[in-house]
């Protein structure tokens, strides 16, 4: 294992921000994995740390294939993590909206540029990603549909679902999108936690990455089979919006099968406790997303269902 500083930024009042990478094997740039780019992505950093533990073992046992190099960057934005902020603390910009970056530009553009310089040229790229939306998601792997996306590759992770996303304008400045523009086949892996650590879910993510590496011949270690991945388009996932505002009470959980008209949850008046709205499933399917904050506004996505 080699530990190296991928990008360094001087600060007026703190130690330098040293974005650190851990590389394994050598030769062909095969896989790069990136963890936390936001200050609340503790789970994403944790997954990378556990992956590094596994890769260390594999390297000791000689189970990293010849002429294959793997790079893991567990945490890009630990500056924000250390002070409890989500985005770059000085100007509240999101590093994952700054790619491919610009070396002569603003601070977070420079960070994105420096990190992206270290990430270019890999055959595969994996980002441990988190959502803007507050809630619990069913763990899955995702690809951005850039026109030359081979979504079948997602099967090699053996996760339950592989989701294809049609990019929106704001997606064009994410790492995942730009990796693909630079001809790296890019995936995002979502676990079911962000600012807390879910050990079981993190372990599943590590296993999925190990499975992918084994399938691609990057490692020679044998990994047990996973799910027969179902590939779906994100646009086909049905959303259920709240019809009232108040206190949100979920009565189901992600991964549950629900039948049409099953009660998924309710919204109660926050002052007098009266039920304002009962949330029912419009069709049968698997609960893919569940809102997880006690207070809810009107017209907020409270559940997403993958139709049966």
């Amino acid at each position: 294992m080699k530990k190296e500083i991928i990008y360094s930024l001087k600060s007026p009042y703190r130690e330098s921000l040293d974005v650190t990478g851990f590389s394994f094997g050598g030769g062909k740039k095969s896989l790069a994995v990136v963890g936390a780019m936001r200050g609340n992505e503790v789970q994403q950093m944790y997954v990378c740390s556990q992956l590094i533990q596994e890769l260390k073992k594999l390297e000791r046992r000689g189970e990293i294939a010849k002429d294959r190099e793997i790079l893991v960057i567990p945490c890009v934005n630990y500056y924000s993590m250390n002070i409890g902020k989500r985005f770059w603390a000085m100007d509240n910009t999101d590093i994952n909206r700054m790619f491919p970056g610009y070396g002569l530009g603003e601070t977070t553009q420079r960070i994105a540029d420096g990190v992206f310089s270290g990430l270019r040229g890999y055959e595969y790229g994996i980002q441990l990603a988190s959502f803007y939306q507050q809630g619990n998601f069913l763990p899955h792997v995702k690809m951005m549909d850039t026109g030359f996306t081979d979504s079948e590759l997602m099967r090699k992770f053996g996760m339950q679902f592989g989701i294809v996303r049609t990019p929106r304008p704001y997606d064009t400045t994410t790492l995942n999108y730009n990796w693909q523009v630079w001809e790296t086949k890019a995936f995002s892996i979502y676990t079911n936690a962000t600012d807390t650590i879910d050990v079981k879910s993190a372990q599943s993510a590590v296993e999925a990455i190990m499975r992918f590496m084994a399938e691609e011949g990057i490692i020679t270690h044998k990994v047990h089979a996973g799910y027969n991945t179902e590939i779906i388009y994100e646009s086909s996932i049905e959303q259920i919006h709240s019809e009232a505002a108040g206190i949100f009470v979920s009565m189901t959980e992600t991964g549950s099968f629900v039948e049409e008209n099953d009660i998924l949850g309710k919204i109660v008046n926050p002052l007098d406790g009266e039920t304002e709205s009962v949330i029912k499933a419009d069709f049968a399917g698997i609960v893919y997303f569940e809102y997880n904050t006690p207070l809810i506004n009107e017209n907020t996505v409270c559940f997403k269902i993958i139709k049966d």
Binding site: L9, K10, S11, P12, R86, F87, M90, D91, N92, R97, L104, G105, E106, T107, T108, Q109, R110, I111, Y132, R168, P169, Y170, T172, T173, H241, A244, A245, G246, I247, P270, L271, L295, I296, N297, E298, N299, T300, V301
Partner: protein, 316 residues
């Protein structure tokens, strides 16, 4: 008359309400919309909204048409000194045109667009953020320049900056409205979290002039100043390569030569100059850093270069 554009229920005993003030007189069919407050930390437009509303109401007999003033598209942001939408960590100016079937903010954005749509002209007033101070300017993307520059020249700004359009900006209010055929001009002026009274007055005079030129105003209006237009000119960006505190020695609006000393980045711990900052080109400083703490990459100034002939004479 104050009207509700759209509303949505918040979790506890409150509604998020977007309001506008409609001022109407005469038989003229023209409609001008003045919108501001998409970013909660940009307050320059608040004073303009007050001035226009107050003056038109006091002098209603000179108005021939409809003026809609939307002072706060992001009221929760303004209320909480939050640039984006509080609670969502989203920049409201990246979710237009919204969606009628979408989430709360997407629905609100769709309703705002529908309400403004059909205006003859829309002026979307922004301040800079808290870091930079901007000379009053209108920003126009290249594809809309031919249509919008004649109107921009009426607005009494110092600069019209025609820039390349980025994909990410397709989600702005202005892009969405221009795509629908509602001519929308984006004004940037001053600095975040402050009101610069002189700029408010300057743009107010521009609004009256635009109304006069388009037949909506029968009263007096001052002629607009001649703006500098960035077409065929380059913009030089001065970014810091050092960390520390930036102390400028050039003034906002100064004309500088390439290499001129415009400020320093200082290290308060060691008492040393971390970097001397020089102009990257000849031209006029139209953006200057206001917030002193800088990292490598922090924007310190923007300089509008002279037109091609003058640039050539400088040997570049």
């Amino acid at each position: 008359m104050v009207k509700t554009v759209t509303e949505a229920a918040l979790a506890v005993n409150e509604k998020l309400i977007i309001r506008k003030n409609r001022i109407k007189n005469g038989s003229g069919k023209k409609r001008l919309s003045i919108v501001t407050g998409i970013h909660g930390d940009e307050l320059e437009g608040q004073y303009l909204a007050y001035m226009v509303g107050n003056y038109l109401t006091e002098n209603i007999e000179y108005l021939d048409g409809t003026v809609d003033i939307y002072p706060a598209l992001n009221p929760m942001g303004i209320d909480s000194i939050t640039r984006g939408i509080p609670q969502f960590d989203l920049d409201m100016n990246r979710i237009f045109p919204g969606s009628k079937d979408g989430t709360m903010m997407e629905k609100i954005c769709a309703a705002i667009i529908d309400d403004i749509d059909g205006s003859d002209i829309c002026v979307d007033v922004h301040a800079s953020n808290i870091f930079l101070k901007e000379l009053p300017q209108i920003r126009i993307s290249v594809p809309t320049a031919e249509t919008l520059i004649p109107y921009a020249k009426m607005l009494n700004v110092d600069l019209i900056w025609v820039h390349e359009s980025a994909t990410v900006l397709e989600s702005t209010l202005a892009h969405s409205l221009n795509t629908r055929g509602t001519k929308t001009l984006v004004v940037e002026m001053g600095v975040g979290m402050r009101i610069t009274k002189e700029y408010g007055v300057q743009l107010f005079n521009g609004i009256l002039n635009l109304m006069k030129k388009t037949g909506m105003w029968k009263g007096e209006a001052e002629e607009a100043r001649e703006p500098v237009i960035s077409l065929n000119r380059e913009v030089g960006f001065v970014n810091s390569d050092a960390a520390g505190i930036f102390v400028p020695c050039a003034e906002f609006g100064d004309h500088v030569k390439k290499g001129d000393h415009i400020g320093d980045v200082l290290d308060p711990l060691t008492g040393r100059v971390a970097a001397e900052i020089s102009a990257v080109c000849d031209g006029m400083i139209f953006t200057l850093r206001e917030y002193p703490i800088v990292y490598g990459g922090s924007l310190l100034a923007r300089i509008l270069m002279p037109s091609g002939a003058e640039k050539g004479a400088d040997g570049e």
